[in-house]
Amino acid sequence: MTAWRILAAAVLIGAGVALRGPLEAHPVTHMLVQMPGLALAGALLASPAIGSGEWNRGGVAALLAAVFTATFWMLPRSIDAAVSGPLVDAAKFATLPLLAGLPLAAGWRRAHPLLRGFLKAQALSMLGILAFLYTHAPVRICNAYLAEDQFRLGIGFLAVAVALAVLWTVPLLVGEAPRPAAGMPTGSG
């Protein structure tokens, strides 16, 4: 693992802790800046040796760990508890890098392209559901945050969904056409 990766991860986690107050004051910066930053820090720490064993064949076990951890931190209860309780917040600073970002990277690089595509599609639909939920919920979902900030978070989820959809589909539309898989009819015969 290169030194700059460790340094960058340390900076990300350090900034998340140091700027805890202002970042967690608003749900948009809490959930769309601080929390992804922590996961990214974990991904930077995923050296090639991690997850290279037989237990992680196809990256499935590591990806499952990342998905469960992400699901836990998507619960409104978890967000409220992190804002109001230093212990829960400390758990967030530990688990998002080590049990979400790191296993995501360790699983992704071994994952079959079909599994990657499945996870991308799931991520987009989940973000879409969250966007709808947070912009249309008739009640406040988090006690710690204002209703109008909840609406902004929904718009934020929508923006992330659109950005990822563009990021993931544009490479398919420009540049070299993807080659058909071996054994598929090529249409040129």
């Binding site: 499935v60 469960f68 406040r140």
Partner: protein, 200 residues
Amino acid sequence: MRAWAASLAVAVAGVAALWVATDGLAALTTEGARRLAVVRDAPVVPPRRLQTMDGGQEVLPAGDGRASLIEFIYTSCPTICQSAGTAMAVLRDRFATAGLATQVRLLSVSFDPEVDDVPQLASYGERHGADGSIWTIARPDPEDLPELLDTFGVTVIPDGFGGYEHNAAILVVGPDGRLHTILDVEDVAGAVAATRRLLP
């Protein structure tokens, strides 16, 4: 370890963690969790004095065999407290016609006691038709406020325009001095039913 065994172990641990974190998928929000916990544990309400809108005193819990239905408000609230006030008026009328006026009291308690002095409380009571006989408006000692909000699980956050947002609810305290039920402010029928169950 074999890949399938590792994946299974992760899945079992993940489902167990989510199960515990959501009370068996029953509560995804803090508000849902608080309502479940109250039904399960019926926490004791610590005895505290409140100053009422006519300058008198009420004690929490009542301690005289009456049930208390409590809502937290602030009198300058333009939105949800107004509908909560309307719901309290409807509740008061229901209990009066049901002949339960001596067994139940309704309290709208300010979580902004520094601003909500007795004239402010009285003005709020007048606007919503609280005459003090079954339903009165009151404020706690500012020193007691954090403990009260904690007991009732009320989170108050400034809205940036001089007001507050808070998880408004009807809190039903039984004659035994325990908090038994938390309901939406519009759920008048539910509040009447929950109160009847607590009365002898």
